[in-house]
C-alpha cells in the first residue's frame, strides 16, 4: 500500500505491507531512537507522538498513519527534560529512555506541577529495568520546578 507519513516534519511517501508496525517502519528508515520491546503495548519503549498525542507505535500499523504526523525522539523538542535525565542519572542502558521521555513530556504538558505520585502513575506505563525509577521521578520533578521558575 502507498502511504504518506510526515515524520518529524518531513513527508515520507512509501509503499508498505499492511502488517508493518509504525515502530518497524521508522526503524527501517534509520530512525532507531524508537525502540521495540514487548510489541504488545506493555513496556512503553516504542512510545512516540502521533498527531501530537502519545501512542504505542508497536500497536499502530504504518498504514493507519497515512496522511498523519509522527514525532519521534529524533524530532522531539524538550532539551531541558533530556538534560535533566542526564543530570539525575535517570538512564543507564537507555533502552527505555525515548519512550520514558515521551511519556514524561506528555505528563508535563497536561499537568505542569505534578506530585511525585502523579509522576509515578504516569510513568507506570513504561518499564525501566535499570534505574529503579527514583531518579526518573527526580528528573521529571526537577523539570516541572525549573519550568515554573522560568514562567
Amino acid at each position: 500500500m502507498n502511504i504518506t507519513i510526515t515524520v518529524n516534519g518531513e513527508p515520507m511517501v512509501r509503499s508498505v505491507e499492511p502488517r508493518l508496525s509504525l515502530v518497524d517502519f521508522l526503524r527501517a528508515e534509520g530512525l532507531t531512537g524508537t525502540h521495540a520491546g514487548c510489541e504488545h503495548g506493555v513496556c512503553g519503549a516504542c512510545t512516540l507522538q502521533l498527531n501530537g498525542q502519545t501512542v504505542r507505535s508497536c500497536l499502530t500499523f504504518a498504514v493507519q498513519c497515512d496522511g498523519q504526523e509522527v514525532t519521534t525522539i529524533e524530532g522531539a523538542n524538550f532539551p531541558d527534560l533530556q538534560e535533566a535525565f542526564i543530570e539525575n542519572n535517570a538512564l543507564q542502558c537507555g533502552f527505555c529512555t525515548p519512550g520514558m521521555l515521551m511519556t514524561a513530556n506528555d505528563l508535563l504538558q497536561e499537568n505542569s506541577s505534578p506530585t511525585r505520585d502523579e509522576i509515578r502513575e504516569a510513568i507506570s506505563s513504561n518499564y525501566c529495568r535499570c534505574t529503579g525509577y527514583q531518579s526518573i521521578v527526580d528528573a521529571v520533578e526537577q523539570v516541572a520546578k525549573q519550568r515554573s521558575e522560568v514562567a
Binding site: R19, S21, E39, H40, Q64, D66, T103, S124
Partner: protein, 289 residues
C-alpha cells in the same frame, strides 16, 4: 512477534464496512483502536485475513445528548471519553472508571466501542454498561437493531454481534433524580487489568435506595450483578442496611474464578472490601443529602 499478512481496507461509511464484512465473513475483523486486536495479532492469537479500519466513519464518532440521554459513538477514544464534560454530567460512573483503563498512550488509541466488543471479563466498561443499563446500537446487512446491556456480551470475549455487524454507538439513559454512582477496582498496578472491580449505580429516594446495581468484573466469565446482595440494600432506611449481611450474600450470587495471580477466595475478600467501601460511601452521602 510479527502479525500474519493481511489485507487492509479503510472505509468511510457503515455500508462500505458492512459490505466488506459480508464478503469475507469471519476472515475479516473490524479494526478500531487496535489496542486489543493488534497485540493479539502480534502474538498470532488472532489471524485475520482482512482488517476493516472503521476510524473514518463519521456516525461512529461523537458524544452527544439525544432525547435527554447520552449517545457515545463507538469510535470515541478512551482519552476523549475520560475528558468529556457531558459524560461527567450524565454518566459519572464512566468518568470514574476511565483512569483505571490502561495508560495514557493506550487510552489515546483505544475506543469505547472496541472495549465493549472485546468483552474481556476484566474490562471496566462492560461492567459500567450493565450498571447504567445502556442500549447498544448495532448495524449490519439486515439493517439496524438495538440490544439491551445484559444481552450484548454473552461470554468471555464473546458478544451477540454476527460477522457482518458493527457496534455504531451506545445510548446511556438520562440519570434519574437521586442517582448515585461509585467505581473502584483493585489492581496490582495502576493501569493493569483488575483482580476484582465493582461498578455500582443506585437511586436514592426519600432516604432509601429504590434501585441498586452492584456489577462485579474480573471475577466471572463476564461482568455480573450480585442480585441477592442488591436486594438487601433496597427499600429500607439507610441506617438499617446491614453491610455485613450484604457482603455475606455475595457468595450466593458469585463464585469468583481464580486467575494467574489471585485465588477465588482472595477475589471474594476483594469483592467484600469493594462492597463495604461503596456502601459506606453511599450511606455517608445519603445521610448528608
Amino acid at each position: 512477534m510479527k502479525p500474519n499478512s493481511f489485507e487492509y481496507v479503510r472505509v468511510d461509511t457503515l455500508n462500505d464496512a458492512i459490505a466488506v464484512l459480508q464478503e469475507h465473513g469471519d476472515d475479516a475483523r473490524i479494526l478500531a483502536g487496535g489496542q486489543s486486536l493488534i497485540p493479539a495479532m502480534n502474538m498470532r492469537l488472532a489471524l485475520p485475513e482482512v482488517l476493516v479500519d472503521v476510524s473514518n466513519i463519521g456516525e461512529m464518532h461523537g458524544i452527544t445528548i439525544q432525547d435527554g440521554g447520552l449517545r457515545i459513538g463507538a469510535m470515541s477514544r478512551h482519552a476523549e471519553v475520560m475528558k468529556s464534560s457531558k459524560i461527567a454530567e450524565y454518566a459519572p460512573l464512566i468518568t470514574m472508571a476511565m483512569p483505571n483503563i490502561a495508560h495514557g498512550a493506550i487510552r489515546n488509541r483505544g475506543t469505547f466501542g472496541g472495549s465493549l466488543c472485546n468483552a474481556d471479563p476484566a474490562a471496566e466498561l462492560p461492567a459500567c454498561a450493565l450498571a447504567l443499563g445502556v442500549t447498544f446500537n448495532i448495524q449490519g446487512s439486515d439493517g439496524t437493531r438495538s440490544v439491551a446491556a445484559e444481552d450484548f456480551i454473552d461470554g468471555t470475549y464473546s458478544t451477540c454481534l454476527s460477522d457482518d455487524e458493527i457496534l455504531v454507538s451506545v445510548d446511556v439513559p438520562a440519570p434519574e433524580a437521586g442517582a448515585v454512582s461509585f467505581f473502584e477496582e483493585l489492581a496490582r498496578r495502576k493501569g493493569d487489568y483488575a483482580m476484582a472491580g465493582l461498578a455500582a449505580h443506585g437511586v436514592l429516594k426519600d432516604g432509601q435506595f429504590t434501585d441498586m446495581r452492584l456489577v462485579f468484573f474480573a471475577v466471572d466469565e463476564m461482568a455480573v450483578r450480585a442480585s441477592s446482595a442488591e436486594q438487601l440494600i433496597c427499600g429500607k432506611p439507610l441506617s438499617e442496611i446491614d453491610i455485613d449481611a450484604v457482603c455475606a450474600a455475595l457468595a450466593d450470587d458469585i463464585t469468583p474464578f481464580e486467575d494467574l495471580t489471585t485465588s477465588s477466595a482472595a477475589k471474594m475478600v476483594m469483592m467484600q472490601v469493594l462492597t463495604r467501601r461503596t456502601l459506606e460511601k453511599f450511606i455517608a452521602e445519603g445521610a448528608v443529602n
